[in-house]
Amino acid sequence: MTSVRDIQKGYIELLESYINPLGKEALNDHIYSGDRFGSMPYLSDVLLAYYEPLGKDITDYWKQYAKEIRKSLAESNNLKVCYSGDISPSDASMLTNKLGMYVDTILIPDPVLNITQQLAPVSDRNFYLRSVVRHAINMVKIKPLLDADSEFPITAVYPSTKIFNRDFVEKIRDAASEDARVYINQTFNLKLKKSDDAFEIMQSFKKPEDIIALVKNESNLIPDWALPSVQEGIKNFYDGGKQMYIKEFANRPAGEAIYMYILGRLMSFHDHFENCKEFAAEPLYDSPNSWKMFTWYLDACFPEGNLLTNEGLVANSIGIDNPKWIGNLPVDALVEARKRGELSEIRATLTKNINRIKFTRVEDLEGVTAQVQENLKNEFDEHQRKIKDIEKRFKNNFYLKSPVTVVGELLGYIPDPHIQAASALISLPFTLLGLVDIYRSSNKILEEDRAERGRLIGLMYDSEK
């Protein structure tokens, strides 16, 4: 049986064979590179030709390993989070670095497989190329984490079920259509009785203005539709979408575009939950849009309570809300800290008192985030206190003790020249012994200092500065 690590390695090698001709500098910024190479005259055409076999290559690859990797990931008994939302995390490297210090494994559905199979038929050629380059680089950038020598894979990319199972797609489409009907009735001035009617009715609203006029519950709208205002948000969403699709899709009515977005998101949730169930993983989102839809979905469809555990809430808080500096940890340091078994310690620290938060609605993560920040602050304060204490002890040990001994040593040379030789002979070994002791104890303190600073919390503290 091929190991998860080897499967990931093969996956990255496959992507690299498509990305490498773009040069190392392309890896610096996946979004910029995607936009740049996706629109460069001549090069974008040559790249589109070169990327033609990618869809088949990636599908063949996952056909070979899909069962194995899904089985391995499902069987591993640890804290996993499963990403969903956009095609891939907005910055996969940052997200996985951040979460790597809290959860055992971050699961990401292969974005390249999804793009080549689902986006390719309907998207504008250059938009498709931009997406492929962007998301492939995004994945290649997490190579050090995929490759890391760790008990559990810190990150694992898996193939989505949707691609290989048409019956499953039918099933989740039916379920999502009903959810979409509920969402539309709650959000817009419409009373759809059957989910089958939704597409046709929404299609009858041709312009964004027609949809804007229908909005009755702004709080249900995703940030992209609501900001800076509903008028601008929905219009920008519709106009922006036009550049993404082939002509037939670009010119569709505004109502259809909105409906298809809602349906697509809800289908993703169903797919995602099935994956979470299979992998025994917590759902994870890193974008406010998907989080908004997710929370609506949970409130509407699971009124009895949310599906997330405390760890799941904290992971999402780290994913969406917490500052980026948490992701600045060097991979090696992260791997070492995990090897030292510090993951459970930091998990316990960040999850402290989350129970106190009444989480009857998953409307926002603010409470969780505030608690996580407080936990972090307390831990940072404690860390600082320890460091200061160590520094104090070091000073006491070295600067306060050593001058006395050194003076003693010097004195051995100064007096009477007759005594000088004898005292030197006597005092020198003693002095040296003294220095060795000081050195030893100082070294011990320094080691303590290094250990404290090298703890995950210490590294996080340093990366904040």
Partner: protein, 249 residues
């Protein structure tokens, strides 16, 4: 630091585009060879590689080398290229890239189009492609022209249209009493129609389908076309005789 002029920036961008396109082509060739050892790289690239191999330490800066690659005598269509490279201190300059069969210089933009087309054709496993695929490729490659394949199953309507035009005296050099016209009337299939008249039928069809555009009607009686022929057609249209009359040549 002096600011780069617009021209410098454009030159830098062009250099990057060309360099990356070449890297993509080399990566493509590498992948193809990994799949099939007998794979032959495109001949226009081989000429470049032959020239490149001659660049060594003994060559002085500013000196040039030439690489040539020509197809075998019995190969159809014939292809042949000559590449002249000049050695500089830190880089190699492509002085000239010639198509020696069509006896013309290949511009960098056309070379990039050849790279694109050769990769696209390589991606298809079969030796021949459907005409619909070929015309789609050519239309993408040469956007100021419209390649239209005459639908062979409509040949009778096409024939009647041609005969009408001949009767109206609109087809130069052809009268209703020409022996070739008699052959058209007697034909029982499109392949029995003489090639010259098949071309007229396809041209009339293309002009009707894309009025006012630079349309090229394709009259082949076959459903498929060899990939090598598609490449040849592209070379002729991109930089062969007559290409100077195209808008974006």
């Amino acid at each position: 630091m002096t600011q780069k002029s617009e021209e410098d920036e454009a030159r830098e961008l062009a250099r990057e585009v060309f360099q990356k396109c070449m890297l993509v082509l080399l990566a493509h060739v590498q992948r193809r060879i990994a799949d099939d050892e007998s794979y032959q790289e495109p001949r226009f690239l081989r000429a470049m590689i032959v020239a490149y191999y001659q660049i060594n330490d003994e060559l002085k800066d500013g000196e040039t080398v030439m690489g040539v690659s020509v197809s075998d005598e019995n190969e159809d269509p014939q292809e042949g290229y000559a590449v002249i490279l000049k050695k500089h201190k830190n880089f190699v300059e492509i002085v000239s890239h010639q198509d020696i069969i069509l006896n013309t210089e290949i511009s960098i933009t056309n070379l990039l189009k050849l790279i694109e087309l050769s990769i696209r054709l390589d991606n298809i496993d079969t030796k021949a492609v459907k005409w619909s695929v070929a015309t789609e490729m050519l239309n993408k490659l040469v956007p100021d022209m419209v390649f239209i394949k005459f639908p062979n199953n409509q040949w009778k309507q096409g024939r009647d249209e041609l005969l009408k035009e001949i009767w109206k005296g609109r087809i130069h050099g052809l009268t209703p009493f020409d022996p070739m016209v008699a052959k058209v009337k007697a034909a029982t299939s499109f392949s029995e129609v003489p090639q010259v008249l098949r071309q007229f039928i396809a041209t009339l069809y293309a002009a009707r389908k894309s009025p006012g555009k630079n349309a090229l009607g394709i009259s082949s009686p076959d459903k498929d076309i060899d990939k090598a022929k598609v490449f040849e057609l592209a070379r002729i249209v991109l930089y062969g005789p007559g290409s100077k009359y195209r808008k974006d040549s």
